[in-house]
Structures are given as C-alpha cells and as structure tokens.
Amino acid sequence: MNRYRNWILLASLLMCASQGAYAVVNVYACEPEWASLAKELGGDLVKTGSATTGLQDVHHIEARPSVIARVRQADLLLCTGAGLEEGWLPVLQRRANNPRIQAGADGYMEAADYLRLLDRPARVDRSQGDVHAQGNPHIQLDPNNIPVIAQAIAERLQLIDPGHAARYRENLSDFLSRWQTALARWQRQARPLQGMPVVVHHNAWVYLINWLQLDLVGTLEPKPGLPPTSSHLSQLLQQMQRQPAKLIIRSPYQGARASEWLSERTGIPTIVLPATVGGNEAATDLFGLFDNIVLQLLSVTQ
C-alpha cells in the first residue's frame, strides 16, 4: 500500500508540474521595464523583481547576493538582449546554475528577439567593436514596441504556467486595450513635439526620437561610453549654431557635467528624462513612464 501511495504522490506531483499549477511564478527581469510589464500580465500569479533599477546604467551591475539568489529561484528570466547585458548576464546565468532560465530554455526570453532594432550597423566588422552589432538595445522607449513584448511575455507565462493560461490571456487583452488608449492619448498630446530639434547625451534615445519624430541634432558622446573630446564638442557647437536645438536630453544615471557645459554655452535647457520605470518618481509603471516623458517634453515647448 505504502508503495502505491508513493507512486500516487509522484504521479500527482508530475501532474501538478505538467498542469503548471504554480502557486506563484517567479519572474526576474534584467531591467525594471520588463518586471513592470510582467506584473501587468501576471498580476498576483507572479512575483517580480529586477536586477537593475531605473536609476542605473544597465551595462554594469554590482554583484549582490540577492541577485544570484533570485536568478536561482526564477522560473522566467526576462532581459532585453542585443548585447545590453553582455557584461554580466552570462556569468550570472552560469553562476545561478538554474536550468530553467538558461539560454534556449522556455524560462529565458530576450525582448529584442521580437523586434526589428534601429541603428543596425550596415556592415559588422571588428573595427566597430561587437557590442551593438545587433542594433540599439534601448527598445523600451518606443511605446509601439511594448504590445509586441507583452504578447511574447504572456505566451511564455502560459507555457510555464499552463494551469492559469486563461488568466494570462485575459490580463494581456486587458493590458493591450489600456495601452492602446494611452498610446492614442500620448500621440495626440505629443503632436506639437514633431520635428523638435534635440541634443542627447548618449544615444539611448533613438527609439523615443523615432517615435515622436524629433530631430536629432547631435550627441554629446562621440562614441557610446566615451567622454566628449574637444574637437567633437566644437563640432557640436558649430552644428548647433547652424541648426539650433531646443533642448538637451540626458538620463538620470549620466553625469550632469557634460550637458550643463553645453547648456551654459548655448542657453538651451537640459531635461532629465526617465529612461525606464523607476527613472523618476512619476515613472512608477510603463504608463507613468510615458506620461512623464511626454509631459516633460511638452513643458519645453510652452
């Protein structure tokens, strides 16, 4: 009898696993925007966390024990991909030793796989380095990208936790309809921004610029991650005389010095835009993020 009981126990355990009767799905994200999106789609069925915050440069993270612990427990790891987390994610995945979230498993998803990226180099060779060979990874800044990623995340959640598939589909359609309403509002509000000339600190804003059809006059950094050189700055100043910009955009994690230098010389205001959820106090979720970005950009036009 005892033997049968063990078999029944094992069989019911297996059924639970295959039916995906998860009490809660552990979702861990590389960046806060994906954690926020997963929360929208999973609600109380998921527990979310993020390895980075909206106030830091995601190219590097400081190793904390909880980051490894969360990746060890994760059922789904959501990252941007396209080389953004190249410096730390592979070593973290190796270190966490969790087969559910290794590359290729159902529990690992790169958002960039589902989109056509901007800034893809026409020709990839070693003289240009290799990091952004796949294109610009700052995809969260075009709200048109969000529904595509939402769809993909919802599919992964259904795959991992099929017991609650109907709930995930429901949440997805609810989210998509709220997003479409918001998107229409942002596009209406942002109409006066079309063609506004801007200078950015680091080329992390291409998706936003592309969405709002802003006019990019120049970037403060000659190459991503490199401090401006004097010839680059003088070229930028000359270009701004020919083609005056209306504002300078930087992220919260970039130092204020370079943009203030340019502000002082040109009299153009600098604004600090949140690059993701948590980038400032207003950006508590993806809706708040774009609300705040549009609001701040509009404040300059008035």
């Binding site: 909880s66 270190r95 991650g225 490199l226």
Partner: protein
C-alpha cells in the same frame, strides 16, 4: 534584512576565492610593506589592463587565452621595469610606481579612444566581482598560486627582489580578475599592516584576520543585500583596526 542570500551555493565559491587570494597576498603583503611600495599592486593591475586593451586593439581578442597571455605578459614586463628602477633609484621607487600607475592608466584611455568596446572587456577582466566567481574558475588560479607559493618559499623571494617582482606580477594579475582591485589591495595590505612587528607568528594571525574579514563581509553583504566586494573591504578594515588597537593596548598594559 534578507535571508535568501544566505546560501552556501552563493557564498561558498566567493569565500573560497577569498581564502585563495589571501593564501598568496598575506605573505606578499608583508614584503610589500617592508619594501615600502604599497601601490605596486595598483600599478601591476593597470599594466595587466593595458595588455588587455592592447590585445583588443590588435584584434587578438577571440580566444580567451591570448588576452590572458597579453595581460600576464605586460604585467611581468612592467614588474621587470619596476625592478630595474628599484636597482637604480631605490630612494624614488614609490614615486616611480605611482607615476607608472597613472601613465599606464592614461595610455589605456588613449588606446581605448579608438575602440570603446575594449572598455567593456577591460572592466570585465580587471573589475572582477567576487560573487560572480564559481568553483571551476578557481582551479587554474589555485595552480598558479601553488607555483608562486612554492617558488617563493624555496627560492626565498624575500631575498631576491627580481623574483619577488615577477611572482607579484603573476599573482596580482590572477587575483584582480577574480575579486577586483579594491579587494586585492585590502587583502594585501590590511592583514599585513595590522600584525606588523608581530614577528614570525604574525603571519598566521594575518591569515586568520583575513579569513574572518572575508567571512564576516560576505555574511553582512548577504544579510543586508549590499555589493559584496565593498562590504568585505570595510569588514577587513574594521577587523584590522580592532586588532591594531587591541595590540597597542596590550603593549601599553605590558609596559
């Protein structure tokens, strides 16, 4: 407070890496203090970094071992030059080491300006993070350290400056990649500093202090969820200070 980080699978390899680093850095640190060349580890790490950048600029970056070879090569070459300087101008050695540190660092920046990508590789390599270390990574380092310790012991590196410089270069190039330059500096200087003048037995005390510092630091980093490297440096410093103060008080009472 955070208990989920208190997991031997997370903290175990980091602690093992710490003990491994201490095994060579405590004895080398005593020699560094005796010679009065505290900043030599920073200079050596920077030389190794320069090698990494050079490897990248020369497009030698595909297999990992060529990068490693360049890192060890430039570190050893730099150490050899520093040894020659000590022979010729012993009184200026600390100043020469300091200057060579900034010259190597700035040469790196200039080389990088043509290839910003190498900066990422450099950070990965030289800003090692102790929590990312897994057991397999420790094996080659353990082999290198065993050779260093044996050579140092049997060839009496404290009597042969050239041997000291070369062994030091190899050791620091390995350890900087494991735990980063702050922990290398702390492991080298703090245990040795807090037990200086303690005679022969002092080295065992320094090992104990170092191990306790790493253990306590990792524990605190898990409990309060803070970056591990920085917490370990502070915990080493606190323990070192405690030991130094206690020893001074004991000496005063004994007098």
């Amino acid at each position: 407070m955070n208990v989920e980080g208190l997991d031997s699978a997370i903290l175990g390899p980091a602690f093992a890496a710490g003990l491994l680093v201490l095994s060579t850095h405590v004895p080398l640190g005593r020699q560094v203090l005796q010679r009065g060349i505290i900043f030599i580890d920073l200079a050596i790490a920077q030389f190794a970094g320069l090698g990494v950048i050079a490897a990248h600029v020369m497009h030698l970056d595909s297999p990992g071992y060529t990068v490693q070879l360049m890192a060890y090569g430039t570190a050893v070459l730099g150490a050899f030059l520093l040894y020659r300087c000590e022979r010729h101008w012993p009184e200026a050695q600390e100043a020469i080491i300091g200057s060579s540190f900034i010259v190597a660092a700035c040469s790196g920046i200039l080389l990088l300006s043509g290839s910003p990508q190498a900066g990422e590789h450099l950070k990965e390599l030289l800003v090692g993070q102790i929590l990312w270390v897994g057991y397999p990574v420790l094996v080659p380092v353990a082999v290198i350290y065993a050779v260093v310790l044996l050579l140092g012991k049997f060839l009496r590196s404290h009597e042969h400056p050239l041997l000291f410089y070369l062994l030091f270069a190899v050791t620091v190039t390995a350890s900087v990649q494991l735990v980063g330059v702050y922990l290398v500096f702390a492991s080298l200087i703090i245990p040795a500093l807090s037990v200086r003048n303690a005679g022969k037995r002092g080295i065992w005390f320094a090992y104990g202090l170092g191990a306790a510092g790493y253990g306590l630091g990792l524990f605190a980093s898990a409990l309060f969820d803070l970056p591990a490297g920085a917490v370990i440096v502070l915990s080493l410093a606190c323990l070192g200070l405690l030991v130094a103060v206690t020893r001074t008080l004991v000496c005063l009472v004994a007098d």
